[in-house]
C-alpha cells in the first residue's frame, strides 16, 4: 500500500474546525465529499489502534457519552459503547425498554432531561425519521445519529465506505474515493435508512449506485436521488464491483410486502450462482445482522476473498471513535476547533 493520506497531512483538508464544521452528525445528506473523506482518514488511525493489544487512548477521559436508544439494537449499541470506552469516556446506555418514554414522557422532555445531566455527546437511535434532528436543536452537546426511522444511519454508511476503501486498497486498486465503481444495493430499500445513507455517501465518493427491490419495497421518486432502480436482481448485478445486501426486516413487514421468505430468496437471495453475474472479484457487503438463507446464502457470506462483512463490523468501531473524537473537539478545546 502506498502512503496513506492521513488527516494530519498538511493542506489535505482545511485547517481545524473548517475541515468538519458540523455540530452534530445527523445524516450524510449534510456532508460534503471532503468532510466524508476527513472522517474516513481520521478513522484509519483508530483502525490501527484497535488492532493493537492496548486499545485505549484517553482522548475523552472524564467525558460522558449517553447512548440513547429508543429502538432495539445490539450491534450498533455495542459498537458505539466500545468506541466511547476505547477513547476513555464514561459511556452510559439508555435502552428503550427502561426509558420513561414508556411512561408517556415526550421525546423532547427526555432530551431535555438527558441534556440536564450534561453529557458531552448523545448517540441516538429512534424509530421516527427526523428524531435526531429534532433533539439536536434542543441539547447543548453533539448528537450522533445512530439511525432515525427510515431516514439516515450515517455511521453505517461511513463504516461501509471505510471497509470498502480498505478492501480495495488491499487489492492495490484503491484510490481515496470510489470513482468509476458500480455498486448495487439490494433489499428493503423503502424502509432502509442504511440504503439512503449509503446512496448519499457512495455517490459523494464518486460511485454509481443501482438499487434493487421488489416494487412494493422501492420508494417512489427514488430516481431523483440519481440512482438506477431495478426489480430484476440478475440484471442489477450485471457487471457490478460491489454487492451490498440489506437485511429483510421481518419486524417491518407489518403489511404483506412479500409473499414469503422462500419466494424472496428465490427472487432476491444472493447465491453463488447469482453472484457470477457481477464482476469476477466483486465484493459482498451486508450491514448485519444477516438472515442466512433469506437475503444471502452462507457460502456467499463466508467467501474469504469476496465477503467483507466482518471487516464492516471492525470498521464500525473505528468510524464511531473518529466521529466521537471529531465532534467533541470543540468542547475539548482542541486547537483550531474551539
Amino acid at each position: 500500500m502506498t502512503a496513506t493520506p492521513s488527516s494530519n497531512a498538511p493542506g489535505r483538508f482545511p485547517a481545524g474546525r473548517l475541515a468538519f464544521p458540523h455540530a452534530h452528525l445527523t445524516g450524510i445528506g449534510h456532508l460534503e465529499r471532503h468532510e466524508i473523506l476527513f472522517l474516513l482518514d481520521a478513522a484509519e488511525h483508530w483502525v490501527e489502534l484497535n488492532r493493537r493489544g492496548e486499545k485505549r487512548e484517553e482522548l475523552l477521559a472524564g467525558r460522558t457519552i449517553i447512548n440513547a436508544f429508543f429502538e432495539n439494537s445490539t450491534r450498533t449499541l455495542l459498537s458505539f459503547e466500545i468506541a466511547g470506552k476505547r477513547l476513555g469516556a464514561d459511556v452510559v446506555n439508555m435502552a428503550a425498554a427502561t426509558s420513561s418514554l414508556k411512561k408517556g414522557e415526550t421525546l423532547i422532555d427526555t432530551a431535555i432531561t438527558l441534556n440536564a445531566m450534561r453529557p458531552d455527546a448523545i448517540v441516538m437511535r429512534h424509530g421516527s425519521s427526523g428524531a435526531t434532528q429534532l433533539i439536536a436543536q434542543k441539547v447543548d452537546c453533539p448528537v450522533l445519529n445512530a439511525g432515525d426511522g427510515s431516514h439516515e444511519h450515517p455511521t453505517q454508511a461511513l463504516l461501509d465506505a471505510l471497509a470498502l476503501r480498505e478492501a480495495l486498497r488491499r487489492r492495490g486498486e484503491g484510490s481515496e474515493d470510489f470513482t468509476g465503481l458500480n455498486v448495487v444495493i439490494c433489499g428493503d430499500i423503502l424502509h432502509s435508512r442504511v440504503a439512503r445513507s449509503n446512496v448519499l455517501c457512495l455517490q459523494a465518493m464518486g460511485a454509481k449506485v443501482r438499487l434493487c427491490a421488489p416494487p412494493a419495497l422501492m420508494p417512489a421518486g427514488i430516481e431523483a436521488m440519481g440512482v438506477t432502480p431495478y426489480s430484476d436482481f440478475d440484471a442489477a448485478l450485471d457487471g457490478v464491483d460491489v454487492v451490498m445486501m440489506l437485511r429483510l426486516q421481518s419486524e417491518r413487514m407489518a403489511g404483506h410486502f412479500i409473499p414469503s421468505e422462500r419466494e424472496y430468496h428465490h427472487l432476491y437471495g444472493l447465491t453463488k450462482r447469482r453472484l457470477s453475474a457481477a464482476k469476477p472479484d466483486a465484493l459482498v457487503m451486508h450491514p448485519g445482522p444477516m438472515n442466512r438463507g433469506v437475503e444471502i446464502d452462507s457460502e456467499v457470506a463466508d467467501m474469504i476473498d469476496r465477503s467483507i462483512i466482518t471487516q464492516q463490523v471492525e470498521m464500525g468501531v473505528a468510524i464511531r471513535m473518529a466521529c466521537l473524537d471529531v465532534l467533541t473537539r470543540g468542547r475539548r478545546g482542541v486547537e483550531g476547533w474551539a
Binding site: L107, I108, S129, L134, D148, G149, S150, R196, P219, A220
Partner: protein, 411 residues
C-alpha cells in the same frame, strides 16, 4: 348584548355578487337593508366611513376543528362550520345543540354532525335529530368512511334530509400510517408516504355514490391534478358536488416539509409542485368552490415531535384571507371571486342566509384593506396555538373592521 342599531357604511368599495360597486351599505335590524348609490346617510344615523376600503361579506369558514374566536375575528370570519372531530365527537344531538350556541352573538358556529357514531365509519349517527339540534351538514371527520355500503346509506339519508355530506377524500387503505405524499421529498426524508392517487380513488368512489344517491356532497379538500379532473367532469355531468381547498395546498408543496417541519404536516399531506400549480389553475377555472382555513390549532404536545409522530393540522384562520388575496395579485382570480370562495359558496352549501352583500341577508360584514402589508409571526398570533406553515412570510390584506349581525366587533 348590543342592539343592532341602524348603521351605514359609507365611502366603501362594496364586493357584491355583481362585482365591485362604489357606495354605501345600510344595515338595519341585523340584516342588510340597502346598498349602492341609493344608500345615503339619514340625518343622525350612525355612520362608519370605510375610507375607500373594501367592504365584503364576513368569511364563512367551512370545516374548522376548533372554535377559536380571536383568531376567527382577526381573519374576518363571522361564521364557522365546526368539524365533528371534537372530544367527545359531535355524534349526539345535545352536543350539537350546545355547539350551535357556543359562539353567539359575535361568532356563529354551525356544527357539522358526525356521520357515524364515534366517527368510526360503521353505524349511522342520529343525523335527523342532530339536524333539529342545529347541524348544518354531516361530516365524515378527518377520515373517510372505508365501507362503501355505509357511505351509500349515509348519502341516501342525508339526501332525504337535504343536508350536505362533507367528506374527506383519502382512501384509507392506501394511506395507512402515511405522513407524506409519495415522491422524492418523502423518499429522501424516509417518511411513511402514500401515493397522491389515494385522493383520486376516494373521489371516484364518492362521486359515484353521490350520483346514485342524489346527495349533495362537499369534498372539503381536493388537492391533486387528477382529483380536480374528476371533480370537473362530475360537475359537467351535473353531479351535485362541490369541493374546497385550504391556502396551504395552493401556496405550498411538499418542499415545505424538508427539515421535518411539523407545521407543514397536514391532512391530506402537502403534494408535489405540479399538483400545487394544478390547484391554482382549478381555482382560476372555477372548479374549486370553497377556500377554508382548515383551522386546527395544535400546541407543542402535538407538534414538537418527530414528523410522522406529530398530529396533522395548521392554525389557518388568521391567514386564509391574506393568502387568498395572493391569488388576486397573481391574476388567478378577481376580487369578487375571492368572496365567492370564502363567503358566498360556503354559506350556500351550509344553507345559511349570509355570505353575500345582498338586501335581506344577515349583516355579517368585513372592512378589508386588501393591500395592507404584514408579516405572519407565530409569536404574535391570536390563535390558541401557533402552528402556521406561513411563519415569517410576508402577507398582504388585513381586516380593519368586522360586523356580525349588524353589531361591530372589537378587534
Amino acid at each position: 348584548m348590543k342592539q343592532a342599531a341602524p348603521l351605514i357604511i359609507t365611502n366603501a368599495r362594496l364586493v357584491t355578487p355583481r362585482g365591485l360597486v362604489a357606495g354605501a351599505i345600510r344595515l338595519d335590524s341585523g340584516v342588510i337593508a340597502q346598498l349602492g348609490s341609493e344608500a345615503v346617510p339619514d340625518e343622525g344615523e350612525k355612520v362608519l366611513d370605510a375610507g375607500g376600503k373594501l367592504v365584503s361579506p364576513g368569511l364563512v369558514d367551512l370545516g374548522v376543528f376548533a372554535v377559536d374566536k380571536p383568531a376567527f375575528h382577526f381573519g374576518g370570519i363571522t361564521r364557522a362550520a365546526l368539524m365533528p372531530d371534537q372530544s367527545p365527537p359531535l355524534d349526539y344531538p345535545s352536543r350539537v345543540n350546545y355547539i350551535a350556541k357556543s359562539g353567539k352573538p359575535d361568532l356563529w358556529v354551525h356544527p357539522l354532525a358526525a356521520a357515524t357514531r364515534g366517527l368510526e365509519g360503521v353505524e349511522l349517527a342520529e343525523i335527523a335529530l342532530m339536524k333539529e339540534a342545529g347541524a348544518r351538514g354531516v361530516a365524515t371527520g378527518r377520515r373517510w368512511i372505508a365501507d362503501s355500503g355505509v357511505m351509500l346509506r349515509l348519502m341516501q339519508y342525508a339526501a332525504m334530509l337535504d343536508l350536505v355530506v362533507v367528506t374527506h377524500a383519502e382512501d384509507a387503505g392506501l394511506v395507512g400510517e402515511a405522513a407524506a405524499t409519495a415522491g422524492e421529498i418523502a423518499t429522501r426524508m424516509g417518511l411513511p408516504s402514500a401515493p397522491a392517487e389515494a385522493e383520486t380513488l376516494a373521489l371516484a368512489r364518492d362521486i359515484a355514490l353521490a350520483e346514485m344517491s342524489g346527495a349533495r356532497v362537499h369534498f372539503r379538500q381536493v388537492t391533486t391534478a387528477a382529483g380536480f379532473d374528476l371533480v370537473r367532469s362530475a360537475k359537467a355531468r351535473g353531479v351535485n358536488i362541490t369541493c374546497g381547498i385550504t391556502p396551504a395546498h395552493f401556496m405550498l408543496s411538499d418542499l415545505a416539509t424538508v427539515d421535518f417541519r411539523t407545521f407543514a404536516r397536514l391532512s391530506p399531506p402537502l403534494r408535489s409542485e405540479t399538483d400545487r400549480q394544478a390547484a391554482c389553475a382549478a381555482i382560476g377555472e372555477g372548479v374549486v368552490d370553497v377556500i377554508s382555513s382548515g383551522h386546527d390549532p395544535r400546541g407543542p404536545e402535538d407538534k414538537r415531535l418527530p414528523f410522522a409522530d406529530a398530529e396533522p393540522g395548521m392554525a389557518g384562520a388568521e391567514t386564509v384571507l391574506a393568502m387568498t388575496l395572493n391569488l388576486v395579485r397573481d391574476g388567478v382570480i378577481g376580487m369578487d371571486r375571492v368572496f365567492e370562495l370564502l363567503s358566498t359558496n360556503p354559506a350556500r352549501i351550509l344553507g345559511v342566509p349570509a355570505g353575500a352583500l345582498e338586501p335581506g341577508l344577515e349583516a355579517d360584514i368585513a372592512v378589508v384593506d386588501p393591500d395592507a402589508p404584514w408579516i405572519v409571526d407565530r409569536s404574535k398570533m391570536e390563535a390558541t396555538a401557533d402552528n402556521t406553515p406561513f411563519d415569517r412570510q410576508g402577507a398582504q390584506g388585513r381586516v380593519r373592521a368586522l360586523i356580525k349581525g349588524g353589531v361591530a366587533i372589537d378587534l
